[in-house]
């Protein structure tokens, strides 16, 4: 089984990536990077990462979230985060990234925020 599983679905003009597993150095970080690059190539620039199933992330994974955020912003898009686990929320808090990312607990609210 892959370290990080990513399922893509479309909700209006927002692309939701339902992620489960680990975003850690190596396979997990690469999988996230590849998915974001592909979406940008397909001109899908409104992206919601559903992280409910991501139980673990390391500094490389956090770096990949930052890299995704800046790449999408640079391309005129928006990246938002949904359903952070408590541990991920704690990590984003101590790294001061919780103030950078737009974070939501409910999908409907997250999708509406793109409008």
């Amino acid at each position: 089984m892959a370290e990080l599983n990513i399922a893509e679905r479309q909700a209006g003009d927002v692309t939701v990536l339902d992620m489960s597993g680990k975003i850690t150095i190596g396979e997990g970080s690469v999988a996230l990077r590849t998915a974001i690059r592909r979406l940008l190539e397909e001109n899908k620039k409104r992206i919601l990462l559903n992280l409910a199933g991501v139980g673990y992330i390391d500094s490389s994974g956090i770096g990949e979230l930052v890299s995704s955020y800046t790449a999408i912003n640079k391309d005129g898009g928006q990246l938002k985060l949904l359903n952070l686990t408590q541990k991920l929320q704690d990590l984003l808090t101590i790294t001061k990234l919780l103030t950078v990312f737009d974070v939501y607990e409910g999908e409907a609210e997250a999708l509406n925020s793109f409008k």
Binding site: G26, D58, I62, G63, E64, Y69, I94
Partner: protein, 137 residues
């Protein structure tokens, strides 16, 4: 009194990170550890081994990463050696400074210091770097 000590070596490729984390998780689990401490140790070990493989040994598979795990009634001690040329941890910028928040790397040492009670680096005279981390029970 040390309850248990174990040591092992891993090759310098990135898969060593998960191997080390699994071995350390098994070690701390059989020596009794809280869930919170286990999480912190796991984070710190992954970051330390990542640094040893990438920055210390530069993924040269002829160089090993050596780990020593010690359990005592008071604490877990984790010692990780690489064969790199060393670095000054004080030269690593604070990733929480405003100008560094959006950097895509540079948080590993911050996590090690955050999740462990003590972290010390030693550049060994015979070559290589040792990081010693302590997590009190």
């Amino acid at each position: 009194m040390t309850l248990e000590t174990t040591d092992f070596s891993l090759p310098s490729h990135i898969e060593a990170v998960a191997t080390a984390a699994a071995a350390v998780a098994d070690f701390v689990s059989r020596n009794g550890v809280s869930e919170e401490a286990a999480f912190g140790i796991d984070m710190a070990v992954r970051e330390a081994v990542t640094n040893a493989v990438l920055h210390g040994n530069k993924q040269d598979e002829t160089k090993a990463v050596d780990l020593i795990l010690k359990s005592s009634p008071d604490a877990f001690e984790i010692i990780i050696h690489d064969q790199g040329s060393g670095f000054n941890p004080n030269d690593v910028p604070d990733p929480t400074d405003e100008e560094n928040i959006l950097k895509t790397s540079g948080r590993g040492i911050f996590f090690m210091r955050t999740f462990m009670d003590e972290v010390h680096w030693l550049i060994r005279p015979e070559g290589g770097t040792t990081v010693r981390m302590l997590k009190r029970r």
